[in-house]
Symmetry: C2
Subunit: 212 residues, 2 copies
Amino acid sequence: MSELIIWTYDWVPEGPRGFVRDLRLRWACEEADLDYEVRTIPFDGRETNHLERQPFGQVPFLNDGELEIFESGAGLLHLARKSDKLMPRDPVGEAETLQWTIAALNSMEMVTVPWWFLNICGDENNGLTGWMGQRLDHIEQILSEREWLAAERFTVADLLMADVLRVPKVRAFGDRPVTEAYVARATDRPSFKKAQAGQIALFEAADVKRTG
Amino acid sequence: MSELIIWTYDWVPEGPRGFVRDLRLRWACEEADLDYEVRTIPFDGRETNHLERQPFGQVPFLNDGELEIFESGAGLLHLARKSDKLMPRDPVGEAETLQWTIAALNSMEMVTVPWWFLNICGDENNGLTGWMGQRLDHIEQILSEREWLAAERFTVADLLMADVLRVPKVRAFGDRPVTEAYVARATDRPSFKKAQAGQIALFEAADVKRTG
């Protein structure tokens, strides 16, 4: 039995397949060669069926021995302690990785996710559009000067930022070739492909059970 | 000279005084009895005058010897390593504190800040209102079962969550007495009051220079 257990839903509709956030933890484990298994909770009733484990009714959460950790960002920072492939061990490299990990969560995703949410609800020209453009322009500028965000190499900060930026509607927001190349560079990694394929296979297998 | 230097603007208008995010780092230093000083960059021209230090043109950022760290959440997690007053040292307490710190940044603030932004732009009944209510209801439920979020004591996760929840428009969104009592409990701490008074005093002193 693996010490690391990543929890996700037992099924999701086709739309979010390949984008559910357990993928972030799978990807990190693949990058760092950490042994893990994936277990599931029922998608049906998800709003209330696991509130004692994830207080907002979301996935993923992570078991590591006696520990249980929710929030994909917290899971990533926890996994990053297990391998310098995810986060350098020198103080400067570590601080850079930490700040860019938090930037992905609290400067980028704080704009891209609500913008996306309003957009899919039908409000395409919503009040967050200007802010969204500014943030994406800043990232385009930053990435024009470097290959990876922190420590001059791929880290968990890139894993997270690329996952934030690869959402189709975010990618389609304006023409930002440098960001597009960055997303392609990150998602071309075998570890990403393996993690994504694993998630999609799980949900596809569940289709059979659901309809069978 | 202190090793820890917190950078903020040299002045802000009256509205945001007491809420600029350098307060989070001041508060953490006060809680942990860490020696720090505050330095400033010009408010005028802030969009572009410090992009090499904070790539989104925001404050705060933190110096710690050779390190420079932006993102208030990253600064808090960095400071939390310096004192167990901010984060317990046992693995379970540490994991709980980490997950709730990230929850404040990526599950609460990802909704409250864009909602607040749309609200002050005049869109009071905006498309994030339902989501906002759900998240605040979840927090109300969680806080009805515990005094502090993690490890059964005040941690950096409470410092951050209380700072997210104390924003006047967020406090006024519905009637949530448990959350209100939590915010009062956190902001009644002498460390918060000292940090807030320090920020307000800096900006008030700058008024004199600006008009003198």
